[in-house]
Symmetry: C2
Amino acid sequence: MPRIARYLPPLDWGRSYGRTTLTNDLVAAVIVTIMLIPQSLAYALLAGLPAQAGIYASIVPIMLYALFGTSRALAVGPVAVVSLMTAAAIGQVAETGSMGYAAAALTLALLSGAMLLGMGLLRLGFVANFLSHPVIAGFITASGLLIATSQLKHILGVPAGGHTLVEMLRSLAAHLGDVHLATLVIGTLAAAFLFWVRKGLKPLLMRMGLAPRAADILAKAGPVVAVALSTAAVWLMGLDARGVAIVGAVPQGLPPLTMPDLSPDLLGALLVPALLISVIGFVESVSVAQTLAAKKRQRIDPDQELIGLGAANLGAAFTGGYPVTGGFARSVVNFDAGAETPAAGAFTAVGLAIAALALTPLIFFLPKAVLAATIIVAVLTLVDFSILRKSWGYSKADFAAVLATILLTLGMGVEAGVSAGVLLSLALHLYKTSHPHVAEVGLVPGTQHFRNILRHEVKTDPTLLTLRVDQSLYFANARFLEDLIQNRIAGDCDLRHVVLMCSAVNEIDFSALESLEAINERLKTAGITLHLSEVKGPVMDRLRRSHFLDDVTGQVFLSQYDAWRALTSAR
Amino acid sequence: MPRIARYLPPLDWGRSYGRTTLTNDLVAAVIVTIMLIPQSLAYALLAGLPAQAGIYASIVPIMLYALFGTSRALAVGPVAVVSLMTAAAIGQVAETGSMGYAAAALTLALLSGAMLLGMGLLRLGFVANFLSHPVIAGFITASGLLIATSQLKHILGVPAGGHTLVEMLRSLAAHLGDVHLATLVIGTLAAAFLFWVRKGLKPLLMRMGLAPRAADILAKAGPVVAVALSTAAVWLMGLDARGVAIVGAVPQGLPPLTMPDLSPDLLGALLVPALLISVIGFVESVSVAQTLAAKKRQRIDPDQELIGLGAANLGAAFTGGYPVTGGFARSVVNFDAGAETPAAGAFTAVGLAIAALALTPLIFFLPKAVLAATIIVAVLTLVDFSILRKSWGYSKADFAAVLATILLTLGMGVEAGVSAGVLLSLALHLYKTSHPHVAEVGLVPGTQHFRNILRHEVKTDPTLLTLRVDQSLYFANARFLEDLIQNRIAGDCDLRHVVLMCSAVNEIDFSALESLEAINERLKTAGITLHLSEVKGPVMDRLRRSHFLDDVTGQVFLSQYDAWRALTSAR
């Protein structure tokens, strides 16, 4: 692949683009466009933005991703979790519904785009790995609950607020007396219909003779039916005049050119939220992209994905959108509908542009409660507490990270939750590696093997102590080994030799080297000789570049058995 | 050792306390007391506190450490680096010399003591390990330079200030016209004398027939001579009236009972500095204690050391002191002078209490320039840039951590420097483990061994890909393996089997497990079977508690050779 094609993937897939591919991409684009119209409106509502922001965020970003992204089927646009995080971040710096709020959303997209682009150019995609799977699972589950709860106010027709679960529930409870009955009926009916569409429509269509794939895709259009029916109902029955909240006038036209607010205070306040949104959006997007690519043995380049998503977010920042990423639901629909290249995404963008130009008057009477129902039904599939049970059974450290993430996300909001999860997983990992397993070993009689004296019947010698270290030696565990040896030799007057068996040591860093030197010095003062055995090649290369091999009182033995023979016969 | 004696070490060493031990401890105490008087005054000056604070900080803390600490020879009190950090921390919340300044020093000692005590009770001593050796070395070197520079104003007799090297040098340069000649002469003479004492006095005394140990100890009393001579000179020549800054009136009496300022704002502002002071003080103290204990095959319990140092700092907080820790110079003198138990420390405290009661009028005329010279000569031995050369030769990652620590400590102050060093070492370590070495291996002909195909002449099979992972699998590298396998199989149409050889995998955490499941799923869609080989016992135990072994498309082979035979003959 030529170098330029690495940064501009269309030069790669464009060469083999033909009529069949075009047809497949066009069909997929039509299906995805129909699905995206209500979804985009709903997510804009979730982010606290005017409805058109959701559509705008799906047009230019999807085109830029088509130009720079490496996934053939990923559909980029507003997604539930990122919309929630956007609302949480901007809610701290501006009043919902104000001019400043929409401008801050642009700034957030700009920051996020710049960070993703920068990470991509610096090839820092690996940073996302520090979000462990359990932390992501816990975060997504808790976010799903938060999102569903945040939408209840639209179903109930009350002006509740709050960013944490407790705040939201308390605010809802305070407004229970103000529930708007017509809104509640519409919202509940819509939610029930959408649940049925999700569970019952596909089997029904298949019983009616449709192929499974067609039934599946048709069932995905359920929200469009709910939108159409409820809009018609509100219009015909004049429910808006009786207090049912509606979407109202959405400006007709292509995405406007917008300029994000670049005031230093705002940039400073949004820096950390933008970083979290970038990393979480990237992780979500890459895992969807990889799952889809694997089905066709295609390749995803995570660093190039950063560039693609960065470009998409910059696009959102300058065309009236807000932070976007590759969404799970829409990408799967795109893939299942037969999309073969990112051109399908570009065609989807054209479809949405037409919708923005022509169709917005049709949704004037669309009740917000129906959009809320769409969101609730979509995000409840994200809620999956089984991660708690699974991680408990497998590893208590992972369980602790999940639990902390869920509780803090629900109790203190998305940013606190995901940060705590990342920090706790890192801390637990570092704790584990800072307490390495060290076994005192002896010779298995009749062999040249050395095993743990606590588990096996082995020969030992009172003048010789052999310790096998089951971990690379680095600063976090270097002093641990010092303490361990110091404690082991304290009061043992027979001891003449200590051998460190290094078969499982992949690295000795400078701190560990100095610890070894300190151990050597201290053993020397105590009249004990220090030896090493079974040191790996690369580790030995490093040691040769230091003074340690000159200073060590004993020798470096090729095998532990050599050490045993030399040190026990020398008496 | 009974459980209670673990928390109260005197119950252990007290049982064998006899007349010889008493004599040895008393002799050591007298020597250390003489050495500590000028040192305590000087460090108080460095911390920006009145001279008596240095003496007070040496009395009750040393007694409390004797009660709770595990080192037999450690001498606790004010030390150079902690004094500098105290000045930096309090300088941000109060004006030097104000009432609030001294009160904030007590608060800092209280916080530091509470943290150390808490870490000790929770057995969190391992936290100190995250300060890598190169970071500590770089930090100590940079601090030494900062301390020496900060004292130049006393030698020059100018009112300069600043907390970073640049600020200090700039402030000194601005005051160059105001240099006080008499002060400069006294300071320079004192510094020259002290340098000579350090380098030339011991050889001279030995030539005069003294035993090396006695010569060494006598040479350590050099500062007392400088103090006495310069005080006499100022008094006799009336230099204080001609503008030479002197210590002046130091209150006569035992340490007062003091109450730290507990206002929430102050506690909040001092939280991070207190943590850094605690950890750095602890690391310095424990490494001195371990070096000395090793010489007599004694045992140090780091968690109990935290309790001892915590108690000492709490003592300092309530008796007019400031943060303390185990000092290198004084502990070595204590050890060399023959101290056998912590009782020597208690006797030193009595000596200093007598000095506080009776001797303070004698130092009324002591010039501050001489104390500054004492500090400069003491800390310049800490400055050692060879760590840069040594770490460069051994490991570029360690070099980067040292360089960042030195530059940031000099350029932005002690807190920024040490924090940056710790974060950078952690980041570099995590970066290394997140990019594990993965080798594609093949069969060495005529053996059952498998080696890297890039380095050895080995047999391979186009339908079989064997990857050896040289690192434990955890969240930070789990996705790395996913990408690697995805890239390797993309476009390879002959491939039927992938084997992961796990001989160097000590752990598979929940994220890595989910990655393996994802890899398994993706390979399955691509028609490729996933196998494992040489999985270690404990890792296998974990895997048995998950669904992975049910879901994996292939098998788990005991040895890689078994896998090779089964998968290549099965064609």
